[in-house]
Amino acid sequence: MRRKVIFNNKVLPYVLVAPQLAITLVFFFWPAGQAVYMSVLQQDAFGESVRFAGLANFAYVLADPDYVKALWRTAYFSVAVTALSLVPALVLAVMADRVIRGGTVYKTIVIVPYAIAPAVAGVLWLFLFNPSVGVIAYGLRAAGVPWNPTLEGAHAMILVIIAASWKHVSYAFLFFLAGLQAIPRSLLEAAAIDGASEARRFWAIVFPLLSPTTFFLLVVGVVYAFFDTFGLIHAVTAGGPAKATEILVYKVYYDGVHALDLGGSSAQSVILMAIVIALTAIQFRYIERKVHY
């Protein structure tokens, strides 16, 4: 039996991947290469004096107490955002999976936030929590909470975490729902016949079988919190008050565009790239072992 597929054209495959390659080259490799190159240079804003600085920019950045603070801030920000988006997404997905009538309506409602631009989502939450006009801020003050995210760093942080998580729930929801629907009904029915309670069925069957999805979403969630929250933070707090919401990616922007410290900013972006590569590698290497595919 000969089932060999013969594909003789030597050029076409390259032509077909060329657009994707070109995009990756222009929008990833070129800027990333520039960042690596500029991270070893010391230069003024206008590029009048450019000299090779070796790893001096990295040494300076890592010794900067503000940078270390931003690093920890980013760590708990990304943990909080990932947790606060994955848990509600899973709950919603499990519920939506069980809805028999009008399921599409519920699903659409949950998915809609994903289509909202980060800056718009940010402004939406900013208004809800605005100390003078916000509905939620009004409620908080009525409840005796002296809510003021424009002056209180912790309040501002809570605000951006909520907004960033809310925005990501839809994405996680979609994947959880798809994951749930891929679980064979027969397994659940067998467990039900054996007398397993609903909670028991969830923890013993659904959750382990969902673990590839959960694992994937963990990786994507951390990367989202690290990078994609920039637009939202820029719109809501601009990193303030007093740098309280300045996560690493925002510091790269501020130091590069506002302080015009191109070497330091590039060094930070290289470190950021290394952190994300390392995080992803660790996740794949260690967490993957416990994942039931």
């Binding site: 010391q42 230069q43 003024d44 804003a45 206008f46 590029g47 009048e48 004096s49 300076y60 900067d64 503000d66 002056l151 209180e152 303030g240 008050p241 007093a242 740098k243 565009v257 506002h258 302080a259 015009l260 410290d261 191109l262 070497g263 330091g264």
Partner: protein
């Protein structure tokens, strides 16, 4: 004929033809565009665009294109990118706090004195009012940038609120103790919801305060002596000023209204009875305030020896960019457009309509001669506080890199003090520490002059 010979022949013929048309007739050539980026919106932006149109109508060799590219910091980032790409704007308006960064970038800019000289146009730095000259000048007298929208801090006060609190509406407080007293009386009489507020916290309470009391902001002659200057404003007098605001905030005799221009709305709406603000903010107060108001000079502490000294300038100036591709003709156009902007009719129109100060002595005299200050009492207050105030070692502004960022450090730390999270001393200690770190980073990366 070989192909390259043919090409040569055609080129020669074309060159001859071009030369002959130039020699015999003046064809309608496209004017050379002179691009200017400005950081102003609203009335100021409209007026600058209008001056560009006037310039274009008066001649047809050059065409000024005035455009808004964002607020000053964004505009500067855009200009840096454009410069690195070899095509910066010809002229850029940059605000006071960005001046230190521009001055350190000596290869990127051409001093305006040189621009005029190359174009063969008369330019005398002494035509500009003295404080602006000191701020934007070089030790040899040449001007690096051309002062345009010049302002200083003044005190606006609500005369109706003063009357309600049984204060003399014709007597603005001259000193801080007088202002504190007036603010307390206004609060006690509940004449307004808040006694006093200020715009531009760092500009007023750090930069203007230092000039008014001849207190240094940093070493090396406030940064003029070199990039190794250190900030030193965490001393007793600036600290007392911040502590005063912290104390006044408790009974709303002072109410903080944000970092930039936002607090002006608190005055215009009648919420606060007094406001320290740029004299350039006059236009919107005249337009929107529904009460009688007066203007006084920035208050001072009478126990500081020699006070009151002069206030210092704010606002913005016009910088000329250099680029390898810039032709002599373009620089000539730049000089001509700048000459139009510094002309007496333009500067007097600008000063009268915006509340900014006339940047040249000639424009100031022209306004005096037509009786503008007699007809508009209070409009000479900023000029008097700037020009006729006592001059001291530290009244001539400052020159620090990354000053926009350092201003924000000051804002952040003082905001924490106003929230009661730290003392005024700690606030300024922190601002100085963080500011010095930024200055060292700037020193490391700046081009050696």
């Amino acid at each position: 004929m070989r192909p390259h010979q043919l090409l040569l022949g055609v080129t020669l013929a074309l060159a001859l033809a071009t030369a002959s048309t130039h020699g015999f007739a003046q064809p309608a050539r496209a004017p050379i565009e002179i691009h200017m980026w400005m950081g102003l919106t609203g009335l100021g932006g409209e007026l600058l665009a209008k001056y560009g149109e006037e310039f274009n109508k008066a001649q047809n060799e050059f065409k000024a294109v005035v455009s808004f590219k964002g607020q000053y910091p964004e505009q500067r980032a855009a200009a840096v990118a454009a410069y690195r790409a070899g095509n910066p704007p010809h002229i850029m308006q940059m605000f006071d706090a960005g001046s230190g960064d521009m001055m350190a970038a000596r290869g990127a800019i051409v001093p305006v004195s040189d621009v005029f000289q190359r174009a063969g146009l008369q330019f005398n730095p002494a035509d500009f009012i003295a404080p602006a000259r000191g701020y934007y000048g070089l030790p040899d007298g040449r001007l690096l940038s051309m002062p345009f929208n010049v302002s200083t801090t003044v005190l606006f006060y609500n005369k109706d609120a003063f009357a309600r609190a049984a204060l003399d509406p014709e007597k603005p407080p001259r000193t801080w103790p007088e202002l504190i007293d007036a603010a307390r009386k206004i609060r006690q009489a509940n004449a307004t919801a808040c006694g006093y507020t200020t715009t531009w916290l760092a500009w007023v309470m750090l930069e203007q305060f230092s000039s008014r009391h001849n207190v240094p902001i940093g070493t090396q002659g406030n940064g003029r002596g070199g990039l190794n200057a250190e900030l030193t404003f965490n001393t007793s007098r600036p600290v007392r000023m911040v502590q005063t605001l912290v104390d006044m905030q408790k009974d709303k005799s002072f109410d903080y209204g944000g970092r930039s221009n936002d607090a002006a709305a608190k005055f215009i709406s009648g919420e606060c009875a007094m406001l320290t603000q740029s004299s350039g903010g006059l236009g919107s107060i005249v337009r929107d305030a529904k009460f009688k108001f007066g203007v006084g000079q920035l208050p001072y502490w009478p126990d500081v020896q020699g006070a009151p000294y002069a206030t210092t300038i704010g606002g913005a100036s016009l910088w000329v960019f250099n680029a390898p591709t810039r032709s002599a003709a373009e620089f000539k156009g730049v000089a001509q457009f700048l000459a139009h902007l510094r002309s007496t009719p333009v500067l007097t129109d600008w000063a009268k309509r915006t509340g900014f100060l006339p940047a040249t002595n000639a424009a100031f005299k022209a306004m005096q001669a037509e009786g503008f200050f007699k007809d508009n009492p209070g409009r000479d207050v900023p000029i008097l506080s700037l020009i006729e105030g006592r001059q001291g070692e530290h009244t001539n502004g400052y020159r620090f890199g990354r000053w926009t960022e350092i201003r924000d450090f000051y804002h952040e730390e003082v905001e924490r003090a106003l929230q009661g999270q730290q003392t005024a001393q700690t606030a300024l200690d922190n601002a100085v520490r963080r500011g010095n770190a930024a200055l060292r980073a700037f020193e490391r990366t700046a081009a050696p002059n």
